[in-house]
């Protein structure tokens, strides 16, 4: 880049913490700010310092990107709706007498519970991130895992439940809706 070393240093600090696409756009903006100050008659180093001051400190810019990160928003949406979907499934399993379902149900239930705990932990990290863009990416990972969990539960109920139980009328649409919402949010969370 045909910029000043201070400009390049600022961009390198941002590149360590933000996605490449965002840094390309920031590079254009910062370079243009620098050229603006050069055009106003400042010497290169002073113009670079003025441009950086106008552009914002890396912490401030990263915090703004984190606050708007799609992964963080997805994680917050999933954490807000999770208890409701979970309660629907809890009621379904109780009503369907899941304890009496044939093996491998008990072992599979342990695996599902462990994955669910890991997913919740990942979503909490993504949803509460304030300074790390990398952490917000856990929102996309958690979303993918949650789609798999929802699909697992739907399949299990279809294959194993001895008969219909009324809470299924809530749990199945809730899971399907969550799969749809998450799938819609994932492209931005995965690519940004």
């Amino acid at each position: 880049m045909a910029g000043h070393e201070l400009i390049d240093g600022h961009l390198a600090a941002l590149a360590r913490r933000l996605p490449a696409g965002a840094v390309g756009e920031l590079a254009d903006g910062l370079t243009e700010t620098w050229e603006h100050h050069l055009g106003a008659g400042l010497p290169p180093a002073a113009a670079a310092r003025a441009a950086i001051a106008e552009f914002g400190a890396p912490e401030q810019i990263v915090a703004a990107f984190v606050a708007a990160a799609p992964g963080r928003r997805t994680a917050r949406m999933l954490l807000a709706t999770g208890p409701l979907v979970g309660a629907c499934w809890g009621a379904t399993l109780l009503a369907a007498g899941a304890r009496a379902w044939p093996a491998p149900a008990p072992a599979a239930a342990l695996v599902v519970a462990a994955v669910l705990l890991a997913v919740v932990a990942a979503l909490v990290v993504a949803a509460t991130s304030r300074r790390s863009y990398r952490r917000t990416r856990l929102g996309a990972a958690g979303g993918c895992a949650l789609i798999a969990l929802d699909a697992t539960m739907l399949t299990a109920v279809l294959l194993l439940a001895p008969g219909p139980a009324w809470p299924m009328l809530l749990a199945v649409p809730a899971s399907l809706a969550r799969i749809g919402l998450t799938a819609r949010a994932l492209p931005a969370a995965l690519t940004r």
Partner: protein
């Protein structure tokens, strides 16, 4: 201005949409339009404008496209039809709100109630 980020909370989206009403702009031009259009009052750090634009793009209110300028990659944003609709609706809401607040804040003889 240090406090302008806080001051703009809740209004930034519509102001960013308004800066694109006259035609497409890139991030730095959006920031300059915001600063100049507000008489210098809303002078946000340029770097923090980009995530706000990305959020509006994800919401489908603006659309960005890459081009090459002076050997650099530049992303330019324009209003979408949904963005124009939102801007129009938010403008109407703001006018009503501002009229009501101005009516209450302006000193004047209050009608006596009994």
């Amino acid at each position: 201005m240090a406090g302008s980020g806080q001051e703009l909370k809740g209004h930034l989206d519509v102001l960013l949409l308004a800066t694109l009403a006259a035609g497409p702009r890139h991030g730095y031009a959006v920031k300059e339009a915001l600063r100049e259009g507000s008489g210098g009052r809303f002078d946000l750090p340029t770097g923090t404008i980009y995530p706000a634009l990305h959020r509006l793009e994800e919401a489908g209110l603006i659309a960005g496209s890459w081009s090459a300028v002076d050997g650099r990659r530049r992303r330019t944003y324009r209003l979408t039809v949904a963005g124009e609709r939102r801007l129009h609706a938010d403008r109407g809401n703001w006018r009503e709100f501002a009229t009501a607040v101005t009516a209450l804040l302006e000193p004047g003889p209050w009608p006596a109630t009994s």
